[in-house]
């Protein structure tokens, strides 16, 4: 015990405080969040949204394509996926993507520039070279793809499914950002999650990606995995920092075996304790800070010179279902099973089952299963939450101007809830701007939840814990 007053950093790591805020909450890739979508919203509603106000829009588009297939099952996974080693499934899926793109292209027109494109999964690289080429060809023939160097065309990579040649192909197809699924470098952890990938392989892929001039290389990792300990994690962090990716997403593993069947293969007793997880979180934040990364918020870190950091400093950072973005368009169109589209006034989600997705498209209609039209209140709260997550601050004045409301009246109840967070040091007021403190960054979800109308009502939805 020493008598020197705590440093700012120590204060960030008040473990009691962290436990206090360790409650279930959404990651706010959208507001309202996906559990609020309902089946009253049909493809006819979607068409109405597109052909109404948006008809003559010349603003850019964001596109997302979901490829649900994986060759192997990773036990931690909570994504919508189909595990198969039978690659003949790709043909049928590509044919339906083609139908879906043609239908969407007819609605949206081919004029709007695609500023952002993301291929996610599942495993996008389940598709082989020829299939990926065909997919990009389908996109290019139905939409206005761009070769602007400022575009953000990214793809999620399972390092076990690619080689240097595949990276050359992806670069040639126009992708300029890669996101590698790393999870953890420790062999025991890799065995426990059924995802073996050796460090040298990741090393050589990272080098190759740099060699091919990918603009930004992002690594996805997870803490709280089975067999993980603060000691094993610190080795992973050392190796991570050595590989020096431009961006890092360090997600919290949420063990919800009752919802995600693949997680049932993970024995609860192999999971680190809540206290260990807090140590891990501290370790991650400190190691990455020492290595020069900037904590963007919501599990994301980036080098100061990366576009993500620059956009955050300039206040131009945006957030969507794929995480943070520097050039998100006002409308995002999702393709493939379970994909979500986000238009300026609505959200819609495709069928989650492959058979229903195919059936609807075979009948010549979009495969939309559910959605939601934003109310004026949703718009206001969405803007508030987005400002907090992306800018780490909230300008009362901007919100009042944009929506013609009196903030202290409109959000009287929320401001009371914020007072407790203020006294816990998560936020502070700088005149009429709410600023998220360094300590508050790891509790961003909690701060956002104050403004989430749907969280204020009792709900049966199970979210993963926020930390």
């Amino acid at each position: 015990m020493n008598f020197v007053s705590k440093t700012a950093e120590d204060q960030c790591w008040d473990k009691q405080l962290i436990s206090k805020y360790d409650i279930a909450g959404p990651r706010y890739t959208s507001y309202p969040t996906a559990p609020q979508f309902n089946s009253d919203f049909s493809s006819r509603d979607y068409q109405g949204e597109v052909t109404g106000a948006m008809r003559d829009s010349i603003t850019p588009l964001s596109l997302y394509v979901h490829i649900p297939f994986c060759e192997n099952i990773c036990y931690y996974c909570a994504c919508n996926k189909i595990v198969t080693t039978d690659h003949s499934v790709s043909r049928r899926y590509l044919d339906h993507l083609a139908t879906e793109m043609q239908l969407q292209s007819k609605l949206l027109g081919k004029r709007r520039k695609v500023s952002q494109l993301h291929l996610g999964g599942g495993t996008p690289t389940f598709f082989d070279a020829a299939e990926l080429t065909e997919l990009v060809h389908l996109l290019a023939s139905n939409f206005n793809l761009s070769d602007d160097p400022g575009r953000e065309y990214s793809i999620e990579i399972d390092p076990r499914t690619v080689n240097e040649g595949s990276l050359a192909l992806l670069k040639g197809l126009g992708f300029n950002r890669l996101s590698l699924g790393i999870q953890d470098f420790d062999e025991q952890v890799q065995v426990a999650i059924n995802r073996r990938q050796r460090l040298p392989m990741v090393q050589s892929l990272t080098n190759a990606a740099r060699n091919y001039g990918f603009k930004s290389i992002s690594f996805d990792l997870i803490y709280g995995l089975p067999m993980q300990s603060p000691a094993s994690l610190s080795r992973t962090l050392e190796q991570l920092v050595q590989l020096s990716p431009d961006r890092i997403a360090y997600y919290n593993y949420a063990h919800l075996p009752e919802r995600f069947t693949s997680q049932r293969a993970i024995a609860r007793q192999q999971l680190p304790s809540a206290a260990e997880k807090i140590d891990m979180l501290e370790l991650i934040a400190r190691s990455l800070k020492n290595a020069g990364y900037r904590h963007i918020g919501m599990d994301h870190f980036a080098k100061p010179e990366d576009d993500l950091s620059i956009a955050q400093s300039r206040g131009t950072l945006r957030r969507n279902f794929q995480g943070y973005s520097t050039c998100l368009a006002p409308d995002l169109i999702g393709f493939g099973v379970s994909a979500i589209s986000s238009l300026r006034n609505s959200f819609s989600q495709n069928e989650k089952e492959l058979s229903s997705y195919y059936e609807k498209l075979d009948g010549g209609e979009l495969a939309i299963a559910k959605g939601l039209r934003l109310t004026p209140d949703d718009h206001i709260r969405s803007a508030v939450i987005s400002q907090i997550i992306c800018n780490l601050q909230l300008s009362i004045e901007l919100i009042e101007q944009e929506f013609a409301i009196v903030f202290p009246e409109y959000f009287a109840r929320e401001l009371v809830a914020l007072r407790a967070m203020e006294s816990d040091g998560l936020v502070r007021w700088e005149s009429a701007t709410l600023v998220v403190t360094e300590r508050g960054r790891i509790m961003l979800r909690n701060i956002c939840m104050c403004f989430d109308k749907y969280q204020q009502q009792p709900s049966a939805t199970v979210f993963s814990k926020s930390l």
Binding site: A129, G165, A168
Partner: protein
């Protein structure tokens, strides 16, 4: 010997410039689109392939920004792809030899992103892309094969571009020679002895080197006994040594 083998060793009936040739009897069938097809299917492919008069030297196949309509298979001669840079300079982006498909750069954008012109008298087969798509519905293996070819093309292009952007003059020249050698091998032509149909200026432009540097490196390789050069005729005398210099896999 890319050109001489094509021009001299064939009978008139099989002359690669002859536009009466069909996919079924084209000697490039084994590396070009018919590769994955049965003989009935080749006939169907043949119906959509258009064979016009050979291109004359410096004649354009398409220009940067033209709408993407067709891909082209080079049947004889050599085609050069290039872009005009922001400051109005020509930047050579590739050389295409018989059996190789050109124009696929257009597929990503719906328009060509390079210009293509003949370096010498060259015959090309035009394959209208929408017809190819129609045909693909009839012949699924055709579609797959086409996208496979295209992905290979994009991959090797990108590998070469990257390699050229990084390395020393020696490495770049060696890499180009090895690339031509590997592509010849794929066409069952000589791996070690060929004619360089392009000028030193074009080579230099493509490699990002001055003409003087290209000539200096070539004569150094010549002196070291790695290659033998007689005007445009080149023999690779020491492949392993050249590979060691290039220090990379040029062709997958």
């Amino acid at each position: 010997m890319i050109i001489s083998s094509a021009q001299e060793n064939n009978e008139t009936a099989q002359c690669p410039h002859n536009h009466n040739i069909s996919c079924g009897n084209c000697r490039l069938g084994s590396i070009c689109l018919p590769l994955a097809l049965g003989s009935d299917e080749v006939i169907k492919l043949d119906e959509i392939v258009q064979r016009g008069k050979p291109l004359q030297k410096n004649e354009h196949l398409y220009r940067d920004g033209d709408e993407f309509i067709s891909v082209y298979a080079v049947r004889s001669g050599t085609v050069k792809a290039y872009k005009i840079t922001g400051d109005g300079q020509e930047q050579v982006t590739g050389f295409y030899f018989p059996g190789e498909i050109i124009g696929m750069d257009g597929i990503g954008m719906g328009k060509y992103t390079n210009s293509a012109k003949a370096l010498e008298t060259s015959a090309v087969c035009e394959i209208p892309f929408h017809r190819l798509e129609e045909l693909s519905i009839l012949i699924p293996s055709m579609q797959r094969h086409f996208f496979q070819l295209m992905s290979q093309e994009i991959t090797t292009d990108q590998q070469l571009i990257t390699l050229l952007s990084k390395n020393s003059a020696e490495e770049r020249v060696a890499a180009l020679l090895l690339s031509i050698s590997a592509r010849n091998a794929r066409r069952k032509l000589s791996e070690t002895s060929f004619r360089l149909p392009m000028s030193r200026t074009d080579i230099g432009n493509f490699l990002g080197l001055t003409v003087e540097t290209v000539s200096r490196v070539i004569s150094r390789f010549n002196k070291q006994g790695l290659i033998a050069v007689d005007s445009k005729e080149v023999s690779l005398l020491d492949l392993p040594a050249l590979k060691a210099i290039a220090n990379v896999k040029v062709d997958s």
